[in-house]
Assembly symmetry: none
Homo-oligomer: 304 residues x 2
Amino acid sequence: MAKSPKISASHEPGGLIVHISGLLPSLSPAEQRVARLVVADPADAARRTITDLATAAETSEATVIRFCRSVGMDGYPQLRIRLAAEAARRVEPPDARVVGGDIPPGADLAQIIATIAFNDARAVEETAEQLDPAVCEQVVEAIGNAGRIDVYGAGASGFVASDFQQKLHRIGRTAFYFPDVHTALTSAALLGRGDVAVGISHTGTTSDVIEVLEQARGRGAVTVALTNFPRSPITEVADFVLTTAARETTYRSGAMASRLAQLTVVDCLFVGVAARNRARTKKALEVTAEAVQSHRVGSGRRRA
Amino acid sequence: MAKSPKISASHEPGGLIVHISGLLPSLSPAEQRVARLVVADPADAARRTITDLATAAETSEATVIRFCRSVGMDGYPQLRIRLAAEAARRVEPPDARVVGGDIPPGADLAQIIATIAFNDARAVEETAEQLDPAVCEQVVEAIGNAGRIDVYGAGASGFVASDFQQKLHRIGRTAFYFPDVHTALTSAALLGRGDVAVGISHTGTTSDVIEVLEQARGRGAVTVALTNFPRSPITEVADFVLTTAARETTYRSGAMASRLAQLTVVDCLFVGVAARNRARTKKALEVTAEAVQSHRVGSGRRRA
DNA sequence: GCCACGGATGAAACTTACTTTCATGAAGCG
DNA sequence: CGCTTCATGAAAGTAAGTTTCATCCGTGGC
């Protein structure tokens, strides 16, 4: 007699659990006991050893193996792994309260973390989605060919501006950032055709930044605005407008998510510029990394 | 001060993969080979037997076991199951090319944007997942009660440090940031019991930051480290260790994703501290917002 | 330059887990 | 009542995982 394959479960696409409970009636009593344990708590079953599970089902290891074969698995380890995977896939969506955006008054730290991370991640993703590659391309082009790049920003956006400046500088582009309006104005006045001025302002209403950008534009420089609000005043003095998509909530007045979104945009521009001349950029990055090497300890691997 | 038992992320609730890549530098060469295989394709690793995996990593079973222990598992079966679970949870990213992290040479801007945004968002989410609320709580507590807070950071992490300083300052906490090591050292020397020093370093090997943190600790201040690598040198001089979970790729040497992850952590701490006294904080934020009002044009609020 | 030391490593011994085989006994059926 | 079939677990057998230990290699002291 040929080894009669009972149920040929070549594939059980949906869920293994569903599959098992489906053929539960067709199993022998002892196997059913095993099956019930597995279905009841897959994750727990995955944790058990075959002997353990057999004992729990009041049967022998042999029966557990038979059960594995019955549901189409090669052996117990396979079943275990599949169960672990199944159990993990059943992810319960993050706490509903988290989605809203603002942090509830009585929130504990775990909630705060979840909320912030959720909003931050969303801001980054949504910003990327709505970024216009064509506009970015032109900005990258302009920056790549610029004689000089000025980056303006105040407050929280100032950090982003400063970061951008440092990045550009690191790949050999001549870039400046000014924490002070007067200096910035002076610099803007010295810009000319072929130069680029980037103004960063979340609200798009920071008069200092707008003013400086306006000055730069008047001198013939290409002006770029990075803001969250596509119709804000800063866009009126910009040749190119890049927008972030952060839904800043009232409480989080530190402009938290917007900052991350801005940084993402900055990174995109940076990599775009860097990619224009991969070889030279790579060299520059290596050289600069080397420069700070002596300020690092334990160059190799770290403490065991 | 005696080497106090440092509290670090003894749990790795979020991503095991993330956890492993964080520990990667602290592993021995042979273990690193194993780790790389595991991180590269968790699902595949889960399918393999220990002998198989050992062979693939060109090492012995013993080393694989050592690796399991190094990352906090009891043994190989446990690792297998966890890996299977992890792999299952993973959402397939939109574009296969995006996954690796590095940007392909011929990439156009749209691809670059997608890649960066994906990695950035990922870093933020994974960081939040593995952050230990208990440790955060203690750090928040310390900062909330601190007489004074010093924040240290160099290079890219310097921006984050500076951002944190500004945030704390804004809600009325006395906080400092020093772009210069000498000044920072001077400041650290003046710290005492009840003060807090926060050191930020992606690699955890920046000697300047470590040195300053050590100084601060010697003076009795509570020291906090924010790094991507839970076993890096900086953690040895920290009472509390907070880790980010950025998988920085070679090309993106500007430490891009890590910066966002750091900012997320900073935001969490900030909100945590702010939440300790909602009323006072709110007032402070309102007042400071008002202060810059005259530097904004177009009075009305903008909404996205 | 030599030696002691400590960590990294794999071979082999060992243990545990998994799988197969086989004897038993219960139920179905002539 | 005896034969067959099948479920079942005990036990043997095999494979997987774990521990032990000797060796090797790099490091730092003398």
